[in-house]
């Protein structure tokens, strides 16, 4: 019986989830000891609420996706817990908000599993998703609704609640593109011979939506001044196109378009030039434009291998330490060991995501799983690479770790979809024949 294979996966998950609870309570206690020299007040109550939240997420999977992958959820919760600890240590007001958003995120996680019983059903609503995605993406540009924060117009504000709709847009658009491309991949995969080269047959009507997507990401970059998100969108579109068709020409074409857009942006916008300049040489403007990235370098260097200890370093000197630069804060306080652990955590989720994509036999689900994994991996690389000066900094959140409600909710939905796909693959279902 396949049913006998169910409990071990969920038992593994439960064990890991409880371990996450233990580690998070431990790290919160250490951070509090480091900050004020005594354990956090109301620790027991807080631990109770947290364990309830963790177990809720686990029970949602147990009930709604019993055969799903057992690794992704615990790792995501662990990253969430570590991020929460760092935020607590940096800014207790933000921590309270992040705790609330975590609860909302877990609810969204369970809600997604509840609503989406079969991932392939999403295919049917592809154009609704396209419309929704575009609306979400462009929402911040609406006067009266959109808000400029730190020069980027990626926020909307409804009453007291601020939200970055772009975070959700990336998932919604990934669904649209996966379904759109799966249907047309035969057409897009056609090749023609040009001399000794084999190139994709140009079909303008099919490619039009992709060019439109590219255009949208340019609009986002220009109008909302959000380099990180536009980079992420663009990488997602090109990646999906290539995944669906296997045509390297799309990668090359994408790279060419990217180069075009990048050089255009570099010439047109001061803030893009500044980002590149401080990437190449932050030291000559260490007290000015390069301050943030230099402080980030100092944080990593001062942390060394083992770190200063939680709440014993000075990561608050890095502007945006709780959001874009939370990885540097982790680097300073728990050192190379901590940063390596965080990256390994992301690699575990990515590995699980790819395994899910490989195992499922439904083309749309395959492409969606690969696309969602790509979003997660790319986003992690863009921001970690940015704060460690591997690539120019483009501010986006580190999934699950950074402070940010929209990001947290969106990423919980993202892993819910991955778990949903993995559950369908592994759930015994009647097959033809």
């Amino acid at each position: 019986m396949t049913a006998a294979a169910q409990p071990p996966r969920r038992r593994t998950e439960l064990g890991l989830v409880l371990l996450v609870g233990l580690v998070t309570v431990g790290s919160l206690t250490l951070a509090s000891l480091g900050k004020v020299g005594e354990p956090p007040t109301g620790l027991l109550g807080f631990a109770g609420v947290m364990v309830a939240l963790l177990v809720t997420a686990h029970l949602a999977v147990r009930r709604l996706a019993p055969n799903a992958d057992p690794i992704i959820l615990p790792v995501a919760l662990m990253l969430n817990g570590l991020g929460y600890t760092m935020i607590t240590r940096l800014d207790s007001d933000l921590a309270a908000l992040q705790a609330t958003w975590t609860a909302v995120g877990v609810a969204a996680f369970a809600g997604t599993l509840l609503l989406v019983r079969r991932a392939r059903d999403l295919e049917r609503y592809r154009y609704s998703f396209l419309a929704l995605g575009l609306v979400l993406l462009l929402l911040p540009l609406l006067p009266g609704l959109g808000r400029n924060i730190n020069g980027a117009r990626i926020w909307i504000r409804l009453g007291p609640i601020g939200f970055q709709p772009g975070e959700l847009a990336k998932i919604v658009l990934a669904i649209f593109f996966a379904s759109y491309l799966v249907e047309r991949r035969e057409l897009l995969g056609d090749r023609i011979r040009v001399g000794f080269l084999r190139l994709p047959r140009p079909r303008l009507r099919v490619l039009l939506p992709l060019l439109a997507a590219w255009g949208v990401s340019i609009v986002v970059m220009v109008a909302e001044r959000d380099l990180g998100s536009s980079l992420l969108f663009f990488g997602l579109f090109v990646g999906l196109l290539w995944l669906a068709t296997g045509q390297p020409a799309y990668l090359l074409g994408g790279a060419a378009l990217f180069a075009l857009a990048a050089s255009f942006a570099y010439r047109m916008f001061d803030h893009v030039q500044t980002r590149v300049e401080v990437w190449l040489d932050p030291w000559s403007t260490a007290q000015g434009k390069g301050y943030q990235i230099v402080q980030s370098m100092f944080a990593f260097g001062s942390g060394g291998v083992t770190g200063s200890g939680l709440a014993l370093g000075s990561p608050q000197r890095i502007p945006a330490a709780a959001t874009d630069f939370i990885f540097a804060a982790i680097g300073e306080e728990i050192g190379l060991l901590g940063t390596t652990a965080v990256l390994v955590g992301f690699l575990l989720v990515i590995g699980s995501g790819l395994r899910i994509a490989l195992r499922t036999d439904h083309p749309f689900e395959k492409l969606l799983a690969a696309g969602l994994t790509l979003v997660l991996g790319l986003q992690t690389f863009i921001i970690v690479g940015g704060v460690t000066r591997v690539v120019p900094l483009t501010g986006i959140t580190l999934p699950f770790v950074s402070y940010g409600g929209s990001s947290l909710v969106a990423n919980y939905i993202l892993i819910a979809l991955l778990l949903r796909i993995s559950d369908q693959r592994d759930r015994p279902h009647p097959r033809g024949g």
Partner: protein
């Protein structure tokens, strides 16, 4: 699609590989450079908010301590004696880092250098700070500061037998309390004021400033003669007003146009420029340079304070002409010396020809009062034999008894000394003296420099610097 998915996995692995490589680069390979970068003030924040041990004088006087405060920096560093000890203590500032003992012994004071013997040490919550006791003797420090008064200059006194520094005074100086304050704007103003002051109050003159040593350097020239050329040490130089030098239209005159000459004891007693100029020419540039280097010139003294200045002696390529050699032999031209170096010259003569490493640290004690570290007595240089040192000592006693350093004499004690007047610009000169006492069994060596005094005569060092040395010697000899 599976092929692409696998390739995408590889691509993501490669990207993450880049991140791992960079993290190891930043947190392992470059960690030291990044955490010690002067623009990275993290270490000082940590030091600033944690407990910090006291700095004590040799007699137990508290020179620096920390008290808890209510603000976010948690602790305030105090210097109960104000500016008196700042040339040694340095400063400890949130904005501007640290210097002096506060910098050199920061790890001990902050308790970061702790040996962990058992699990209890590792888990113990109380920070283990250490107290640092210096060799500085308040009586000598006060006497030196009072004697120097408000004239720009420096005084160093040390024990030639152990290298223990007894006093280090610099004027003008600064009040370290103004830089340790938590009102960061006020600290900024104080710092800017000190930095803008042309009198350089932040400069610890005794060990980080170099002056032309003038005639005090003649001790080194005399040592070269005694040690390497007995014939020259016994030679009588004919009295003259000025030394005729080849290769220049200018002669080397005696101060004030006086006439002098004779054998080495006579030349040293009256500080005869023409005699020493000729002696330098007889010795030659190379021998002079070798002698200076054997006393520690061109090398940073191994003092346990940050960045002690190396005294400078011209390279052999700058000792080719007669004027270059003759003026170098009397401590002018490009010869420079820190007050510490001139005290070490005396200390070599006083200590049988051996210079002991100078140090301000006496001992480090932990919170239980146990000594965790003591200063060691180590030889640094041996510029002369005990026998030659004894001969030179007699010559220097003569300088006090019948020569230019008469005002350094302490009643009932035999003092040895050499004065100097180093012409700077126009009619201004640095007044110098280097001295030690008691001549029979020296326990204190001293160097004094008073900057830019009016009147360029050989007597300037004797009239201005010698009384300061006398006050310091008196205080040190109790």
């Amino acid at each position: 699609m599976d092929v692409q998915i696998r390739r995408m996995g590889i691509a993501l692995m490669v990207l993450f590989g880049l991140l791992f490589a960079q993290l190891n680069n930043l947190q392992l390979l470059q960690a030291g450079r990044l955490s010690n970068d002067p623009r990275n003030t993290r270490a000082i924040v940590i030091d600033f908010s944690r407990e910090r041990g006291r700095i004590l004088a040799a007699d137990g006087t508290v020179l620096a301590d920390s008290v808890p405060t209510d603000d976010e920096l948690k602790r305030l560093r105090r210097y109960p004696e104000g500016p008196l000890y700042s040339p040694v203590l340095g400063y400890f500032s949130f904005n501007f880092g640290s210097d002096g003992v506060e910098r050199e012994f920061s790890a001990e004071l902050a308790g970061r250098k702790v040996t962990i013997n058992n699990l209890d040490d590792l888990l113990s919550a109380t920070p283990r700070t250490n107290d640092v006791t210096l060799t500085i003797q308040p009586a000598v420090q006060k006497a030196a500061a009072a004697a120097l008064g408000n004239r720009r200059g420096a005084v160093v006194a040390l024990d030639p037998r152990s290298g223990a520094v007894l006093a280090m005074v610099s004027f003008p100086t600064f009040d370290p309390n103004t830089l340790a304050a938590h009102d960061l704007k006020a600290v900024q103003r104080a710092w800017a004021g000190y930095q803008a002051d042309p009198a350089k109050p932040m400069l610890p003159r005794p060990y980080r400033e170099r002056y032309s040593p003038g005639s005090t350097f003649k001790v080194v020239t005399a040592s070269a003669a005694i040690g390497t050329r007995p014939d020259l040490a016994a030679k009588s130089y004919p009295p003259t007003k000025a030394l005729d030098l080849k290769g220049t239209s200018r002669d080397l005159p005696n101060f004030g146009g006086s006439t002098c000459g004779g054998t080495l004891p006579d030349l040293l007693r009256v500080s005869c420029n023409t005699g020493f100029g000729q002696l330098g020419l007889d010795l030659g540039g190379q021998a002079l340079r070798d002698e200076a280097l054997s006393f520690g010139w061109d090398e940073r003294p191994p003092l346990d304070l940050p960045a002690p200045a190396a005294s400078g002696f011209p390279g052999i390529s700058e000792l080719r002409t007669q004027p270059q050699v003759a003026t170098s032999a009397i401590g002018q031209l490009d010869v420079t010396a820190s007050p510490l170096q001139m005290a070490l010259v005396s200390s070599a003569v006083a200590n049988g020809g051996t210079i002991v490493q100078p140090h301000v640290l006496s001992r480090v004690t932990d919170m239980q009062g146990q000594v965790v570290r003591t200063a060691e007595t180590k030889a640094w240089k041996q510029p002369m034999t005990a026998e030659d040192a004894s001969r030179l000592k007699d010559l220097m006693v003569g300088v006090v008894q019948q020569g230019t350093a008469g005002r350094a004499a302490v009643p009932g004690v035999s003092v040895a000394a050499k004065t100097g007047t180093a012409q700077t610009t126009g009619d201004k000169a640095h007044a110098w003296i280097t001295a030690f006492a008691p001549a029979a069994e020296p326990t204190v060596a001293v160097a004094v420099v008073v900057e830019s005094q009016p009147g360029v005569t050989e007597a300037t060092g004797g009239t201005i610097a010698a009384p300061i040395a006398q006050a310091v010697l008196k205080a040190a000899l109790g």
